[in-house]
Symmetry: C2
Subunit: 178 residues, 2 copies
DNA sequence: CCGCACTGAATGCATCTGCATCAATCTTGA
DNA sequence: TCAAGATTGATGCAGATGCATTCAGTGCGG
């Protein structure tokens, strides 16, 4: 299996590594200049605001946001410090807890969205037609489900848990609000 | 200038934020499992090995790699520590220096490339036809030149005050070798 | 020659990240 | 029913990153 790496694939790789991080940077900068916190805060607030009663278990938030557990824990710390969310006891499972978005949190989420959506439009929407954006989605989706096997490899001799998450998942994700 | 953000653009944004970072992760993991250092080291070694006499000014390296100055400085520290590069005095400008790749550095760069190219092919090349890869390049390129104007802006009012960050995008670069 | 603005590079410090581990609690199954 | 194992969430620590500053050296205008 000694495939040859094509120049097209190489060119795509270079752009994959450069362009999105740059675009993210631009958007984050716009948000920051508007006086808002990092995007991760928005994502968390959005997930919380969407949840049935405005509250989620940290472990749920973690799964929604696809970030590591410790990262979730620390993010929650900060949201709580800023009064954007509150920890609430979880009666049914005393190991756990609920994190509930506050009014201030909902408010911030809404205000951020206007700046956020404007930034996305500025840096992505305005540069591509809808058809092009859709084609880009299609191409990126083709790259999506690759690392599950790495995970499997890692614990190959462990449990064969087949947790392979084929997360080509539809857009049910962070950004879209409102 | 109150454009509406389309759902297509939003979907593209989500994928832009997720897919490439995931692909990068996979490639980095592959490299790591093969016992190699981070990709940034490869990039630096590649730039050095390509340079006329195997040496560059740090400031050149910085521009090639699109990473901040302090980051370059620290990366060089590590390469030197590992014997992959050496600092050499710059006679014509005593503020500066040259960084020269060593034989060990050239050797590592070459060895890394075989693992690296295999990983790129596995996670990108094998998932897209050459035509698709080319289309992906085209689409990503449309997004590329968005922050250059930010740079221009910054330069424009540079004299004013602008503590605003003229930060260059952190991005991976320079893959193609051999 | 001097003063002054600028460039090249390093570094102190605060923050962020990842990893490993911990304690508490829940679940399972013998 | 209880021990073994799995889950939930927090945290100590090491390394990475970003920011601002510092230091040395350059080059220009006077």
């Amino acid at each position: 299996m000694k495939r040859k790496l094509s120049t097209e694939a190489t060119a795509a790789w270079i752009r994959l590594m450069r362009v999105p991080s740059r675009v993210l940077d631009c958007v984050e900068q716009d948000l920051k200049k508007a006086g808002y916190p990092p995007l991760a805060w928005y994502d968390a607030l959005l997930e919380l605001s969407r949840a049935p009663s405005g509250e989620l278990r940290p472990v749920e938030l973690e799964r929604q946001m696809l970030i590591p557990q410790y990262s979730t824990s620390r993010l929650i710390d900060k949201l709580v410090d800023e009064g954007l969310a509150a920890r609430r006891e979880c009666k049914i499972d005393k190991r756990g807890q609920f994190v509930e978005i506050t009014e201030a949190g909902r408010d911030l989420q809404k205000r951020m969205w206007s700046a956020y959506s404007a930034a996305i439009d500025k840096h992505v929407g305005s540069k591509l037609s809808d058809a092009e954006a859709a084609r880009l989605c299609g191409l990126l989706d083709r790259l999506g489900c690759s690392c599950s096997d790495a995970k499997a490899d890692a614990k190959a001799d462990a449990k064969a848990d087949t947790k392979s998450e084929t997360k080509a998942a539809p857009a049910r994700d962070s950004v879209p609000a409102r």
